[in-house]
């Protein structure tokens, strides 16, 4: 991938001109900075978009004063968070407290390694791509638990434990839904799944009712994975002050923030790649390498918007309702879809 990135943007030539020898480690390092840059720019715009979308839904204007139409709002937020004092509570477990935001961010950033931007643009086209993506998002759970326990604060602990229960439970319907699609495509590799959807309008979505229901289940389960409303009990203000990030200030808090928005993008990306044809055009043809990136990002952004839309529509679930939904509604239906789709595959 790094050859393509560097070639398209001309940086490979620049580095070669500077005298960096071919095959040195500098090339992959530079290329891997690009997802990071994307993540940061995306978080910048996503926070702004969230505030504007939530404002318009609530019949008000969002940020307006900080630059024309409030465009510099997130920049101001980040600059301010950088200036804040970094407080570690005296009785907090220093190592856990420090590592937690790092781990949460790492889970997000590492997912971008296997993210299928385009046919040529994949960091690592693993033949277990989708499995890797589902697994690495679980790294976030470890980070959350560390944050909750390390803060030495009962609210943080409650929030972290609830969050862990939620994420771990909802990984099951998410995995089953994705498995329903894998049954059709026959391959776990991300680009393989997308290539299988060539020629289909909107990918696998409308191929079979089981796939459609599986898609809906994946959407709901992925909302729970990223702690978004209606599943944001771990961050609920009236319940838990701030949940697992109560005790974090300044840049550590900014890390959690960044990771949350990054995660939103990644799960939208997975939904798009598995069910909606990824970087293919909506009518199923294969576009050029750059256009593939554009299509991928556009489709993912639509689902990010969908998540924001859902956030400002629904109130949040109580923790027992949340568990009921997962274990008694989503998992049986996901199993049914899996078996149904497998039957369709075998007999049709």
């Amino acid at each position: 991938m790094h050859d393509l990135v560097l070639k398209t943007l001309g940086i490979g030539d620049l580095l070669a001109w500077l005298g960096v020898p071919d095959g040195s480690l500098v090339y992959p390092v530079v290329a891997s900075v690009f997802p990071l840059v994307f993540l940061i720019i995306f978080a910048l715009l996503a926070v702004y978009a969230e505030r504007k979308v939530s404002a318009l839904i609530q019949n008000r204007l969002g940020p307006m004063e900080t630059g024309p139409w409030g465009l510099f709002q997130t920049t101001a937020d980040i600059l301010k968070l950088i200036q804040k004092e970094d407080i570690t509570p005296k009785a907090a477990d220093k190592i856990l407290f420090f590592v937690a935001p790092v781990l949460v961010f790492t889970g997000t950033y590492a997912s971008l390694a296997a993210f299928p931007w385009s046919s040529g643009f994949v960091g690592a086209d693993l033949n277990v791509g989708i499995f890797y993506l589902l697994a690495i998002s679980s790294l976030v759970v470890a980070g959350l638990l560390m944050a909750g326990w390390g803060s030495n604060n009962k609210w943080s602990l409650y929030g972290a434990v609830r969050s862990t229960a939620q994420i771990v439970s909802y990984e099951i319907p998410a995995g089953l839904a994705v498995l329903t699609a894998i049954v059709t495509t026959g391959t776990l590799s991300m680009n393989g799944i997308i290539r299988h959807q060539e020629g289909m309008w909107f990918g696998l979505l409308f191929q079979s009712p089981f796939l459609f229901v599986a898609f809906i289940i994946y959407l709901i389960a992925s909302l729970a994975e990223v702690n978004r409303t209606p599943f944001d009990l771990p961050e609920a203000e009236s319940e838990l002050v701030g949940g697992y990030h109560t005790e974090y200030s300044g840049m550590k808090f900014a890390m959690f923030f960044l990771a949350e928005y990054g995660n939103m993008f990644i799960v939208s990306g997975i939904a798009v790649a598995v069910f909606m044809g990824g970087w293919l055009t909506p009518w199923g043809t294969e576009p050029s390498v750059l256009m593939g990136v554009v299509w991928m990002i556009l489709k993912s952004l639509f689902f990010v918007f969908f998540q924001m839309w859902l956030r400002w529509t629904l109130p949040r679930f109580r923790v027992d309702q949340l568990m009921y939904l997962c274990w008694k509604v989503l998992i049986p239906i996901a199993f049914a879809c899996l078996i149904g789709q497998a039957a369709v595959e075998v007999y049709l």
Partner: protein, 165 residues
């Protein structure tokens, strides 16, 4: 001086010193920990709601003192609450500011003479930057007070601690 400090055009891009940029960042994104104690809390909520949106200024209320910049003390501060006010103030990371909203927190308000349970002004417990008068202040008055706080932040200098305590 000269060109470096001038605005290019009104409301557009301003080229300026690092101090101004940092101050601008702090004043454009003040996250209050709305400490709504009594009736002024209702007016504070009204200011944050749709009719007089405070999110226009980048002000989002945060639940935790660790993530907030400004503490809006809205309402009567009783002796029982005073301990908690002090504790939460100490939990806020610097740079931090305090805005006293309403007569009760400004100077004890209507309870100044006979209120045996009221702290006569929250400035006796924590250093206050701006006082917003009113009982309760109109949302526009609170917005005016927050803009006055923005002016104060705008004038801050590097390396000078802005609070005595």
């Amino acid at each position: 001086m000269g060109l470096l400090d001038k605005q290019i055009d009104s409301g557009g891009v301003v080229i300026t010193t690092a101090e101004n940029v940092l101050n601008w960042a702090r004043l454009s994104s003040m996250w209050p920990m709305g400490f709504g104690l009594a009736c002024c809390a209702i007016e504070m909520m009204a200011t944050m709601a749709s009719n007089y949106d405070l999110d226009r200024f980048g002000i989002i209320p945060r639940p935790s003192p660790r993530q907030s910049d400004v503490m809006i003390v809205a309402g009567t501060v009783t002796f029982k609450m005073a301990e908690r006010v002090k504790r939460l103030y100490q939990q806020m990371p610097e740079p931090r500011y305090v805005l006293s909203m309403g007569s009760c927190s400004n100077s004890g308000g209507p309870y100044w003479q006979h209120g045996y349970h009221v702290v006569k002004s929250v400035s006796r417990i924590i250093p206050v930057d701006v006082y917003v008068p009113g009982c309760p202040p109109r949302p526009e008055a609170l917005i005016g007070g927050l803009m006055l706080l923005q002016e104060k932040i705008r004038k801050e200098k590097f390396g000078v601690k802005h609070e005595a305590v």
